[in-house]
């Protein structure tokens, strides 16, 4: 196993927010956990191959100590898609609270059964 400490932080935060998503009593906590989960994934991909004093891949002369540009290009699109997902979640939350007057999973389940 070949881990940097930075990657361990990102993986730990991913699973903490997964735990928060499972045990959330309301819809808002679920949305917040999903936002945190997405940023943890971004952090994990960017921290691959991290060294102290690493340089961005910009400029005419690139040295040896340069960050990997491929995960960065993918993660920019991932962040934009993440905010799109958050906007959809918020809209569904508002529609839910308008219809059922609550955002608790237990009460929603009971109201759905009736």
């Amino acid at each position: 196993m070949n881990y940097e400490i930075v990657e361990i932080f990102a993986i730990a935060l991913f699973f903490i927010s997964l735990f928060g998503l499972i045990t959330s009593k309301g819809v808002i906590k679920g949305i917040v956990s999903m936002i945190i989960m997405e940023i943890a994934v971004v952090m994990f991909f960017l921290s691959l191959g991290f060294q102290t004093g690493i340089l961005p891949p910009i400029g005419a002369e690139l040295g040896d100590n340069v960050a990997d540009p491929l995960p960065q290009a993918l993660m920019i699109t991932a962040i934009i898609i993440g905010v799109a997902v958050t906007a959809i979640n918020m809209t569904m939350l508002i529609a839910l609270s308008r219809q059922f007057k609550t955002t608790e999973w237990d009460i929603l389940k009971k109201k759905n059964m009736e």
């Binding site: 903490i16 735990f19 960017l46 958050t86």
Partner: protein, 311 residues
């Protein structure tokens, strides 16, 4: 240094998950996003850091706007939940998620590949991006040249999300248009004067990011969000709501069509190889189209939230 930042990062995330009041959740999320942007910058990714800062400030504003109407900011997230329960009941609720999460984490750690990270693609891209695509910024060259499919489908995802937000909101377009809302924001306070001064600087900064995206840090997405925040400040200053949805949405769809057309002309039909002298023009125009698309999408999302709020 980076480890201290990471400890603060993970602490603020746990606080955001654990907090019970809505305003605290929003504040902890903002702190979390800012610290993660600083971490991205230290990982050598200024583009991602800029995108993260812009997105987090935008989402903070729209979370406040969204929660302000429907929930009170200082109340609990779950006021109806029962507080005093027996310990065994709590344990039986908590234990299965803990076991499930621990099993998943163990599987993840068990299946991680051994050995160092393969740097074949990194070396290839860093060696060839200047001759194959052009520009000085490797990240921009990758998402506009080597992996342009990703950008196309990302723009499609944003378009679908905007259509979904506009579809799921209850009020129709005719109900909204022409109304002048007077509401929470006072248009003569100190904040509004500050915003009036900052506003043009924001627009110029966004345009600089877009036009300079192929030689330095920046690009279409970041500049697009900065330009969108300029138009959002218009609401904060004048406190009016008179955006024409239909036009902006059709503009956004046309911009997406233009992005797809330009990318397919240059990348898939091989204009890139035939005319190497217009590569810079391609990069700049593609960045501008992406910025227009992203800013149209974010303007529609934000004004839909305002339409929700003021009814």
């Amino acid at each position: 240094m980076i480890y201290v930042l990471l400890i603060f990062w993970i602490t603020s995330a746990i606080l955001a998950i654990q907090a019970r009041k809505l305003i605290r959740i929003i504040v902890y999320l903002a702190i979390f996003s800012t610290i993660s942007a600083v971490c991205f910058f230290m990982f050598g990714a200024p583009d991602v850091a800029m995108a993260e800062v812009a997105v987090s400030s935008f989402s903070t504003v729209f979370m406040i706007v969204c929660f302000e109407k429907y929930f009170t900011l200082v109340t609990d997230v779950s006021p109806d939940a029962p507080k005093d329960l027996k310990f065994r009941y709590k344990l039986s609720k908590i234990l299965p998620p803990v076991v499930f999460t621990l099993i998943l984490a163990g599987l993840f750690i068990y299946f991680i590949p051994e050995g160092t990270v393969n740097t074949y693609l990194k070396d290839l891209y860093l060696e060839r991006f200047r001759f194959d695509v052009g520009g000085e910024n490797a990240v921009t060259s990758i998402y506009l040249g080597f992996r342009v499919y990703d950008t196309l489908f990302e723009a499609l995802m944003l378009l679908i999300s905007v259509v979904g937000v506009a579809h799921m909101s209850c009020r129709s377009e005719h109900e909204i248009s022409g109304e002048n809302f007077s509401g929470v924001t006072k248009s003569d306070s100190v904040d509004v004067y500050t915003i009036r001064i900052i506003c043009p600087a924001m627009l110029i900064f966004g345009m600089y990011l877009v036009l300079n995206g192929h030689v330095s840090a920046g690009g279409g997405f970041q500049g697009g969000i900065a330009i969108a925040s300029f138009f959002i400040c218009r609401y904060l200053i004048y406190n009016v709501y008179d955006v024409r949805y239909g036009k902006i949405m059709s503009f956004e769809k046309m911009t997406f069509a233009a992005i797809a057309l330009l990318a397919s002309l240059f990348i898939f039909l091989g204009f890139y190889v035939q005319f190497p002298q217009i590569r810079t023009a391609y990069l700049i125009s593609m960045n501008m189209l992406i910025a227009m698309k992203v800013s149209f999408g974010f303007i529609i999302i934000f004004y839909r939230y305002i339409a929700f709020e003021r009814r």
